[in-house]
Symmetry: C3
Subunit: 346 residues, 3 copies
């Protein structure tokens, strides 16, 4: 399967690459080993020795280098082999692929496309991951489904009414239609529910009763990045006009995916809150609620993938609620088309 | 793999489709969801929402309808979508496939071929399934083998001497040859063992000693239906002439298969008896004996399938005992040929 | 995958084919059943009845014959069907393949190529398997890897420094280079470490301290047979000149592989010793040390196979230490080429 390559993907939460230890992870079908060098910087190398294909993740870190523990070839952080048994001078072609890596906002970002195009300033911001104004617990899910099915899910919240009636959704999600705006690289999707009932997950942390103004305002960036401002405030307290009163429940949500293979996906998420930062257990409860909802999604999406695999020739028929996901798939297709043209030109 | 489609297949025992609950079952490679409508009638729909391929078996029954619990599309018993979020008027092409279903003789029957040809009067009779004169316990097996290997097994009882020496067979099965008659749709196979020893399973329920006249008289209908009159009576008591004395052990046996996939099969069976209907535990003991014998078959046939998979290029060489199974395979082939011609004409 | 066929392969240790019982084993992708006839001789037949592909390993031994327990066909040790239900005269084409088998040096050897070329005098000698001067415990490993990756491993002992630092190797293995000699059918590889530290596994059974002269002198025969003279003696005691003093630790090692499938391999091994033959537990301790080291290899080689499977298009780049394994792969390729020509000529 063809994946968008010229973009920064998330490879993991920063703590997943430990000071000691080697993390082996497959991204876009390629086995990669991650480790930290002497100054703590993250290194990402092809997890396959160029000699006989032994995994370097069974190797040993030596300073900034990684040694294959099959026959002893040693690679530096740029992937060059700097030592090989029986070689006085190591031939330059003895090398493994090295990937540009950046740590930002508690994510490890990796560039798997044309290295000449890797521009760290293009990495999306997730400031609530390590801001003192926000608290969150980092989450991870492994999916047995193609990443596009997850993208579909995130771009159509009408499913909240059906998949998440006891967690994220209310019946309003089935009827309401969001406002959708598109530019070259992103979609902005705005759901407002005015004077509506509170959703079950907000109810469980709210300090007020009665109807709410509830919002889910998010930006989705191709191929698989979602950042959301969501929350509930007492109805009529001015949320739509930008006035967030003290009792308002405000969240910042992160949902990003990186394809592992054509049929499996890495999924990182968090639900940050800016209220009652010192309340014991609150962050954990908010996290647990999201996990419960995300397990609901995963059950459905993995079943959807199995059904697609079993009936590959049957069509998918569109409905009006597909507007955003159709635009997203079109944007991804444009990116792939652009990369094919870039590759032909090179 | 090509399956006979223009026939009524068994989809399950009637109790497998519960008043509440959705049964997901794959037949001929197609995922199907079964449920009961408000009057108890069985409905069979494609287990795949036409929108995004979510399984409807994760959905919710609403009256006679079934709602997909991913995005909320609602389908009636004919497969038409009658409600879709954001659609004031649902386009008629939004529909899933619906299958003709009939309940008869405690079986749920399904038609997966050309609906114009579905004629419920063609469904085979199994009157002993719910007659007051007979008692039986319904059985089900799942096979990791192509259904044709099970058909082979049922059409050559010489295997009873080797696979079932402690359950169904006696050494006579190895030597005797049955009488075989064929018409356009069925084979009739008659085994008689006169003045023979009793088989182990009959021995365990008999109230008399000594030699028996034993019979296995069955009709096999393409592609995969077997109905049998079998039993033992004291030798010379007139069974071959149609006189079944009171001590005679009389059974009616059902063995039907429906392909799940090319390499797996659903198998429904029962062994009804018309004697000592009130004897506690007798029906259960007869059932347990059949299950034991059928596990013997399954062990052999699944091993046979694995060997075929491992040696696909090696031939199968015929022996005289193959007469019935060769005719059965020829009949199935004729059915497939007829269906290909019907499809071309249409 | 193409395998060398015109050679004697090991099918098992002699005790694996028990006096009673049937051993089913796949070799070169072919299912084979092994059993002992009335005089104890090993018989090897295709594990697939020629009638309907039932495995003969679910059958019953009758004298020198094997009966299929599905429909009762009976085969003699040459694979001819000598009895079939309903056949007064069994047609000669009813037969399964039979393989030449020889027992020698506690191995069961099988010939899977052109039977006209089977010459038992060509079977390699492993006299330490049943000599009173040596003791050993027979070992077996199942590998989820192609056999060539194991051949690679055995032909480059530089990996001992990295994979086996606490068992078989010392750091000298990384730097030293062996002497390699080749003739038409074999490689002879000689490693000498003079005045070197003792290896961990030798240390654990030695009765002397101090530096050693250590050797690993082996012959590898295509496609997958390794026989080795290895050991340690006090440095300067004359081992390189052929003088093996009484304290010297002398071993004979066997490592042979037979492909099970393209991606799995049978591996038989032993480590015989000729010292302290009566010391309780010594043979077991030596065996356990080898098993520990071989598990280290297996972990690496199976991971290597998975990496190759995940990245089939990536090349393997040579280093100088590959000399022997490149010659071995070339010798195997020559054998395959010769067999293709032999097959075309026939």
């Amino acid at each position: 399967m063809e994946f968008v390559r010229n973009c920064w993907y998330v490879a993991g939460w920063d703590h997943e690459v430990r000071a000691d230890g080697l993390l082996s992870r497959k991204l876009l079908g390629e086995p990669i080993v991650f480790y930290r060098g002497q100054r703590g910087q993250v290194v990402a190398l092809e997890d396959r020795c160029c000699h006989r294909a032994a995994p370097l993740s069974l190797g040993r870190r030596e300073g900034d280098c990684l040694r294959c523990m099959y026959h002893g070839l040693k690679f530096d952080a740029a992937g060059a082999c700097v030592e090989a048994p029986g070689c006085e001078r190591v031939p330059p072609k003895l090398a493994v692929r090295s990937y540009p890596v950046v740590e930002k906002d508690r994510f490890v970002w990796i560039w798997m496309g044309d290295p000449a195009l890797a521009d760290a300033s293009a990495i999306l911001d997730f400031p609530w991951h390590d801001s003192p104004d926000w608290r969150m617990k980092p989450g991870y899910l492994h999916y047995k489904a193609n990443y596009l099915l997850i993208v579909d899910n995130l771009l159509d919240f009408s499913h909240l009414a059906f998949v998440h009636p006891t967690t994220l959704g209310t019946s309003s999600n089935a009827e309401a239609r969001p406002r959708i705006e598109r530019d070259a690289r992103s979609l902005r999707i705005h759901w407002w529910f005015l004077n509506d009932q509170i959703s079950p997950n907000h109810k469980r942390v709210a300090t007020f009763d009665g109807p709410v103004d509830r919002w889910q305002l998010y930006e989705w960036n191709a191929p698989s990045f979602m950042r959301m401002d969501s929350g509930s405030a007492p109805a009529g307290s001015g949320a739509p006009e930008g006035n967030r009163v003290p009792q308002a429940l405000q969240f910042r949500h992160t949902s990003v995916q990186t394809p592992e293979t054509e049929s499996t996906t890495h999924y990182w998420f968090c639900q940050a809150h800016n209220f009652r930062l010192d309340e014991e257990g609150l962050t954990e409860r908010i996290y647990a609620d999201v996990v419960k909802a995300f397990d609901e999604d995963r059950e459905m999406i993995e079943a959807q993938q199995r059904t697609i695999d079993a009936t590959p020739a049957r069509p998918m028929l569109p409905i009006p609620a597909d507007a955003a996901l159709n635009q997203a798939r079109w944007m991804i297709e444009q990116r792939l088309k652009g990369e094919r043209e870039h590759a032909r030109a090179a």
